[in-house]
């Protein structure tokens, strides 16, 4: 091994590997910014999984049937599992899990803004699966080919489960849309509330996105925000039509020439407000996570102390 390569040479070789679709592994050399970008993105993603447990967790105790209760429990548990894989992936880059979590609690680290919206009816359990997990899949399928090996591999597992969630969610909404007038109304109201926030999940328009270009060069990202958003709209609109629900966008129209849907302007002011912490549930979500950590402190300390005592006993 040659030890004396210049930074330029290392960077060049690194980019060549990326261009040749060779995965970067934890012990490989990588530019600082690549590492930082990935840590930011992966931990943000992990936080989204964990904070994302809360809006759906909100309905577990009120789920309307035994089957729905079990399915929802399992779904939220899957999300906790996704959080675990992702924190582990971030750890391979040197990010300490607890420190990362503290950044979330202090507001330094971000998570997907969609989880700052409230879950107000049972129908939201369907809509979240259908739209939010659906949008997550669109974002994440390309990440299965991400240049960083541990992240790409975590995403393969995650995506399988997300598509399961998406189908379950659509099934809940379908059942409501085909149910009584009250149920249908519940489903439509839910779609009205979640449609626009779901479109915002793809992030700012490409022209305004800070990270897209570099991330695409590094193959951390493979598609632009606007491309993914368009894909999502094109797939979801026919699904809504199929079950007789109306997308709450008067400008939504099939564009024959583009073979794609045109859709209305996203309210980016709202998006920016929610990102800044002013969404309906930002404070509550972080408070819940902080409480979980603080209330669990004595439990974690006890587990540690017991493990220590056990080790001492063994050593004697």
């Amino acid at each position: 091994m040659s030890q004396e390569l210049s930074i330029e040479e290392l960077e060049k070789r690194f980019q060549e590997k990326i261009d040749a679709e060779i995965k970067i592994e934890p012990n490989d050399w990588m530019p600082d910014d690549y590492r930082k970008t990935l840590i930011r993105q992966i931990s943000q993603h992990a936080h989204s999984e964990i904070v994302g447990m809360l809006p759906e967790g909100n309905w577990i105790t009120r789920a309307p049937s035994l089957r729905r209760k079990a399915v929802l429990l399992a779904k939220v548990q899957d999300e906790a599992g996704h959080g675990l894989y992702l924190y582990s992936a971030a750890e391979t880059l040197g990010a300490d899990r607890e420190e990362t979590i503290d950044d979330l609690h202090s507001g330094k680290a971000k998570y997907s803004s969609i989880f700052n919206y409230p879950t107000l009816s049972w129908a939201d359990m369907g809509t979240i699966g259908w739209l939010v997990d659906g949008a997550a899949i669109m974002n994440q399928v390309p990440l299965c080919r991400c240049s960083y090996g541990p992240y790409a591999r975590a995403m393969v597992r995650v995506c399988k489960e997300e598509s399961f969630h998406q189908r379950q969610g659509f099934e809940i909404v379908t059942k409501l849309a085909q149910g009584t007038p009250e149920q249908k109304e519940m489903a439509q109201d839910s779609l009205n509330r979640w449609w626009w926030p779901s479109l915002m999940m793809f992030g700012p328009s490409d022209a305004d996105s800070q990270h897209t270009a570099q991330s695409m060069k590094w193959k951390i990202k493979r598609n632009t925000n606007d491309d993914l958003r368009q894909q999502f709209v094109d797939i979801t609109v026919p699904q809504a039509e199929l079950i007789g629900l109306t997308i709450p966008d008067p400008d939504l129209k099939w564009n024959e020439e583009r073979q794609s849907y045109d859709f209305g302007e996203i309210n980016w002011d709202e998006f920016n407000q929610v990102i800044r912490g002013n969404g309906p549930c930002n404070k509550k979500r972080i408070e819940d996570r902080r409480n979980a950590k603080e209330n669990g402190k004595w439990v974690r300390e006890a587990a540690l102390a017991h493990a220590e005592k056990r080790k001492m006993k063994k050593a004697v």
């Binding site: 447990m53 967790g57 049937s65 809940i172 979980a292």
Partner: protein, 252 residues
Amino acid sequence: MEEKKALFEYLLRLGDDSLILGQRLSEWCGHGPILEEDIAMTNIALDLIGQATNLFEYASSLGVDKRSADELAFVRYEKDYRNLLLVEQENTDFGYTLARQFLFDAFRKPFFEALSQSSDQQLAAIAEKSLKETKYHLQHSSEWMIRLGDGTDESHERIQQAVNQLWAYTEEIFEQDQIDQQLIQAGIAVDLSVIRASWTKQVQAVFSEAGIDLPQNTWQQKGGRQGKHTEHMGYLLAEMQFMQRAYPQMEW
């Protein structure tokens, strides 16, 4: 009592124990002290809801009345729920939750062992499946009792306090009435007086390793099997039944 009716009652008791404890545990989802433990508690809640589903489906299939498994689970009045008072107690903190779980698991394991020998084939099959789950639950809750009892001064005090409080609901576990007697004679139900020794042994062994004192109070609260619950039950049901009550007779 007609045997089918007695069996129906018996299934409700078992189903309610699982359902109500599963409901309580599921309140933790998203709020656990560590992510791994959040997942573990959700897992146990899932097993319990699954057990309740099997038991209510069986009860419903007996044709004693026309209620479906979901109707049995969600639309009875409070006084018609037959669960032990222990399982409806509030989560309070992780210590209470674990102590409640342990006292229950230590009963459920020998119970399902015995029930898997039931002359009722379907009940035996449900018991056998539940036993596999319960073995894991008991291992999990026993390990935590030891961790908390042995861990720090604070954890020791908290878990001892939880055990002291919940002890008043342990005598009820082994109460038997005519329904039990009738079904024991038919070889269907478990004689609780027989498995009690096994419960006591497990509790003593874990307490001793954890350094937890066996509570000395002899006062006991009973009534769950007769539908006389604690004040917590009404709130639990208000939440659990919300959808079925607000939107009656609909499918979900």
